[in-house]
Symmetry: none
Subunit: 224 residues, 2 copies
């Protein structure tokens, strides 16, 4: 865990460095806003402790600049005054948390821990098979760079196949999982939709990733 402390008061900065290092963190110091901004850009920190009152460039500016550059390192702001709107402004410029001076060391630690705990958000898994990509979240399918437009039923069918790559899936399996359970319809329905799929993801690209296994079902080929 690497932490950047941007603080111009020597005494406070030193105390923070020693304290945090005692907790096992690796700490970098920056004496002013410009240096802090530079370090935050160059290095990858797990969190930044950022004072507002700084020579040269104040904390708000540093924070806003970083966010504008799409750098999302968690930022803990140290507000000198405890005016309400100061705090609100800190959060609105993109800080993740703030502390009003004077603060106790225990509280700072707790805030930092909370900040570090909030890790990166998990992204829904995109399923890939060779150059075929399916994103369940955005319901988007791509063959290479070309987008493929699928209807709801076609998408459901392809998703099920892609979740069982390389294995033979029977038509009754598909009817049960892609269509409603206990669907007593004609297996021909599956054949029809397999046809639709092929005409959208295989034939235009001259592939044949959907194999038919006579008497058994279908198999989607390719490797993740």
């Amino acid at each position: 865990m690497r932490i950047l402390v941007v603080e111009d008061e020597r005494l406070l900065a030193g105390a923070l460095k020693r304290g945090l290092e005692a907790e096992g963190y690796a700490v970098d110091l920056a004496p002013d806003g410009r240096d802090g901004l530079w370090r935050a850009r160059e290095q990858s920190y797990d969190a930044i402790v950022l004072d507002i009152m700084l020579p040269g460039m104040n904390g708000f500016q540093v924070c806003a600049t970083l966010r504008r550059e799409a750098i999302w390192t968690p930022i803990l702001m140290l507000t000198a005054k405890d005016g309400e709107y100061d705090e609100a402004e800190a959060l609105d410029t993109g800080a993740d948390d703030y502390l009003s001076k004077p603060f106790s060391y225990v509280v700072l630690l707790a805030h930092l821990r909370a900040l570090l705990r909030r890790g990166a958000g998990q992204r829904p898994a995109v399923i890939e098979l060779d150059d075929l990509r399916l994103d369940p979240a955005s319901r988007a399918v791509h063959r290479g760079d070309d987008p493929v437009n699928l209807t709801a039923r076609e998408f459901g069918l392809l998703e099920y196949l892609m979740r069982h790559p390389g294995t033979v899936v029977s038509k009754t399996d598909l009817l049960e999982h892609v269509w409603d359970v206990g669907f007593d319809g004609d297996p021909n329905l599956v054949e029809v939709y397999i046809g639709y799929l092929r005409r959208k993801i295989d034939i235009p690209f001259d592939r044949h990733s959907i194999e038919t296994v006579r008497g058994a079902g279908y198999r989607l080929t390719g490797s993740a």
Copy 2:
């Protein structure tokens, strides 16, 4: 944006509910810890405002229980005393932020907004998608340089969509998060409001950023 307020003091709870609803949030109230825990488990909230002093089960316990069950809804704790260790304990049991009573409504709002911003995975204060800008703080929306006038409901809808860009959001999702709890209304309502939105942010500018994904929901296109 759906928010759960766990607070036993009737007056405060009511005031919060009314205030937040005026801002366009959908608000649920829970009068004690047990009820709050139950609701937080059952429903999907975008944030929880959690008092510590509660009958039956206190806020620490509720918070710790939720985290133990891997429910990561952002939690804003209301600490009655302003002892340092209270605050530290709040953060250490898994709360994301805290406020010491008494607090002002402005500050609460700022904290909540910051929390909601993080919940979606660390976004800047102003949400941008291509030339569409939405500022939660000032409740202003712009397409390019042109201001767009939205009603509260339209704004809530657009904000939720912009916090989930590129992903398909179902109508029931929207009903649950943009409208009130347990809203068992007609999904047509969503369609109507999508229509309103399109007539304000898309059609006049000859775009179509709100795509309908037949059988699944809607997707807001564009890149930050």
